[in-house]
């Protein structure tokens, strides 16, 4: 009997097995925000996989949320690329550089077919991160992206509208971002879907990241 228990625990320790009450053992990247690190499963963004960030509108801090990771990944010594696929506005180079992002590792793609480009970027293995702004994506398409990200060992970030919060999604992590209406510049982050993350909204101050 103890032997079977041991076998069972060995089986359950496998990284692809996830149980509701345990936190998934995945490779993670520190987010740059101490409060968020504490709330996310594994203590940071997943190293590869697909995450979804849902916002009510562009410009509510969706980039500030990822800036520390962008800066860290683009400055790594054999740096892979960070690809921006059909961003809603122009990424402003001086501001990115001021936050420590290496511009030479950034690639912007303007395309009427962002889903295709996002999948290519994730699958190629050339990108560390691929950010995409999609008007809409079916759960099946998101699943494809998730698989592509795992294959290319990249972190895929999908920016979508808050409207899709109620839809099911195969992404590893779903984050809802709400700006704080008054006071300091920041946002409230709620984890809509995570493997063992915090259930309470996490309040982040962007000035904390810049420091």
């Amino acid at each position: 009997m103890p032997a079977t228990d041991q076998q069972l625990s060995q089986l359950l320790a496998h990284p692809s097995v996830w149980r509701g009450r345990s936190r998934a053992a995945t490779e993670t990247l520190p987010t740059g925000f101490a409060a968020l690190d504490a709330g996310l499963p594994g203590g940071g963004w997943p190293r590869h996989g697909l995450i979804e960030i849902l916002t009510p509108q562009p410009g509510v801090g969706e980039l500030y949320l990822l800036l520390p990771v962008l800066a860290a990944l683009s400055q790594a010594s054999p740096a892979r690329w960070c690809t921006w696929i059909s961003p809603p506005h122009e990424p402003f180079a001086p501001a990115l550089e001021a936050h420590g992002v290496a511009l030479s590792r950034m690639l912007v793609v303007r395309t009427p077919t962002p889903l295709w480009a996002h999948e290519q970027a994730l699958r190629s293995g050339a990108c560390e991160m691929a950010l995409a702004w999609l008007p809409r994506a079916s759960p099946r398409a998101v699943r494809r992206l998730q698989l592509a990200a795992e294959q290319g060992r990249a972190l895929g970030v999908l920016y979508r509208s808050q409207r899709y919060a109620s839809e099911a999604s195969p992404a590893m992590l779903r984050v809802l971002l709400d700006p704080i209406a008054s006071g300091e510049h920041g946002a409230r982050v709620s984890l809509l879907k995570s493997r063992g993350g915090s259930r309470e909204p996490i309040v982040l101050k962007w000035s904390a990241a810049a420091a």
């Binding site: 793609v109 190629s124 990249a154 700006p179 704080i180």
Partner: protein, 545 residues
């Protein structure tokens, strides 16, 4: 030295070599030790080894390659520039009917009235020989075409690389057999090996087996070959024949001085080259610097996938062409010809030199997917851009991103892939410009492929640039205002500012603006400005995303 020694002439095997005035280079290298015997010097390795490849019946093969399914009449080939219309080649039926190579057309028609004379296709013959030369160029850089129907390769320096003489010969023969174009027309080159170029050539043309590496046995082995293999002028051959000289052996027996007097020094020099007594430099074939391929489709094609399929042989040919030269291309031009409409051009540009047909095919597939063809395609031309140095790299053990492994070639591949479908302008990098005007402070840059050590020092948070938004709108957006206060989905609250930016009077894009950081009702931060001109309009220019 006795003056008589200068008179000779052609040494027979077994005889001691006698120095000759016309000899330019000695067969044996200068002696290094004390008292080297002649025997030791003779046993030394030859300096050069030549392989000759002769394609028998090349004019006939070239004609057959040009015409599909010829008639059944016996075929003879004549040179259109030849005044006497000598027959230079004839097929089996014509030969069986009594036609001989070298007879005039009139005589041949008299012998066999049913024969069908055709002019030779010199251009196509050259194309076939160049194809053969391309194959040979993978074995040695010293390849020359001895027009019209033979190829010469100097292989001495390539022996070590290809694992010895026999291995090299076998690989060369196999490469020629495996070539689809040569196999299609049943061209079977005959190979011979000899220490001099001319000897190899003569033996190949005579159809003799010749695998000689020792220059000293050359005269004995060449003796029985007919005189005509030297391809001297017909008139001189006739004179020699009248003297009873019909083989090379008989020719070698003639006295040297007398021969030079009667036939001229150039023919004597030929003979010296044949036996390795005189240097025989050959002009090296310089490979073409661009690839050109053309394919006529059997029927008109509209489907992209089938166009690609039809282009596949050309792409394989291109890969072979590039591999022989160890080069890659960064541009490929396809031209699709239609029945009436102007040809459609399609240019494929690559971020890094590429020589892999598989990669080119997948890029072309993306490119073709967006190409609009006005009419079905009848023919396609493929032209490469300039050839670039193409360093072959080994594949890494780790997949990229694994164990901190640096990316190896995935980035150019991704960029090419995206650009092939979306166009070159849709994929770009970012660069900073030292400028105060926000719209000029950045520019589109070509993605930097080499992984430069990009070190960025984050400026302090209180610096000027930290007050810049992460998003910049493509064009400033006019905001409505109410009693001088800007509104954007509700009233805006100004948090910081004004920061005046006034610049650009020198290039016409003059701006005078007061920038503010504002917060809208939902809490999003905006970067807005007010024109300092008379209108005092408010504009939204950026978002603190």
């Amino acid at each position: 030295m006795h003056p008589r020694a200068y008179r000779l002439v052609f040494p027979e095997p077994g005889q001691r070599r006698t120095p000759s005035v016309l000899r330019v280079r000695s067969a044996a290298p200068p002696p290094s030790g004390p008292g080297p015997s002649d025997q030791a010097a003779l046993a030394l390795e030859p300096r050069e080894l030549w392989i000759a490849a002769h394609v028998p019946q090349l004019p006939l093969l070239a004609l057959r390659a040009g015409s599909k399914g010829g008639g059944s009449a016996p075929l003879v080939v004549v040179d259109p520039e030849d005044h006497h219309q000598h027959i230079i080649d004839a097929d089996e039926n014509a030969l069986a009917a009594g036609v001989c190579i070298g007879m005039t057309l009139g005589a041949a028609l008299a012998a066999a009235p049913r024969i069908e004379p055709r002019p030779r296709d010199a251009a196509r013959e050259l194309v076939l020989m160049q194809r053969l030369a391309g194959l040979a160029a993978t074995f040695t850089p010293q390849v020359s075409i001895d027009s019209p129907d033979a190829l010469l390769l100097e292989i001495k320096s390539s022996l070590a690389l290809f694992g010895g003489l026999r291995a090299l010969c076998r690989q060369l023969r196999d490469a020629c057999r495996a070539d689809p174009v040569l196999a299609q027309i049943h061209a079977e080159p005959r190979f011979t090996l000899a220490p001099t170029a001319l000897a190899a050539l003569v033996a190949a043309r005579a159809g003799a087996r010749c695998f000689i590496t020792d220059v000293n046995v050359l005269p004995a082995r060449l003796k029985p070959l007919p005189l005509s293999t030297l391809r001297w002028p017909e008139q001189q051959n006739a004179r020699l024949a009248a003297m009873g000289v019909r083989t090379l052996g008989e020719l070698m027996r003639l006295p040297r001085a007398g021969f030079a007097k009667r036939f001229g020094v150039t023919m004597l020099a030929d003979l010296d080259r044949l036996l390795g007594r005189r240097a025989d430099p050959r002009r090296r074939l310089v490979p073409r610097e661009r690839y050109r391929g053309r394919r006529d489709f059997d029927h008109e094609i509209t489907d992209h996938e089938r166009i690609l399929q039809a282009l596949s042989p050309l792409l394989d040919e291109l890969e072979q062409f590039l591999r022989e030269r160890q080069r890659g291309i960064t541009a490929l031009l396809c031209r699709f010809h239609h029945y009436r409409a102007e040809p459609t051009r399609c240019v494929l540009r690559l971020a890094a030199p590429e020589a892999n047909a598989q990669r080119l095919r997948s890029l072309l597939r993306e490119r073709l997917a967006t190409l609009a063809l006005p009419e079905p395609v009848r023919r396609c031309d493929l032209r490469s851009g300039a050839l670039m140095e193409h360093a072959l790299t080994s594949k890494p053990l780790w997949s990229p991103g694994e164990r901190g492994h640096a990316p190896a070639g995935e980035m150019p591949a991704l960029i090419e892939h995206l650009r092939a479908r979306l166009g070159a302008a849709a994929v770009y990098g970012l660069a900073r410009v030292a400028e105060h005007r926000p719209e000029s402070a950045w520019r589109v840059a070509e993605p930097a492929l080499e992984a430069a050590a990009a070190r960025v020092t984050a400026t302090t948070a209180g610096g000027e640039t930290a007050r810049r938004p992460l998003w910049l709108l493509h064009a400033p957006q006019l905001l409505e205002s109410q009693r001088g206060r800007p509104r954007h989905h509700g009233a805006l609250e100004l948090l910081a500012g004004p920061e005046r930016i006034e610049s650009g009077w020198w290039d016409g894009a003059d701006i005078q603006r007061d920038y503010y950081v504002a917060s809208d009702v939902s809490g999003a931060r905006l970067w807005i400005y007010r024109e300092c001109t008379r209108q005092k309009c408010w504009f939204l220019h950026g978002l603190f995303g």
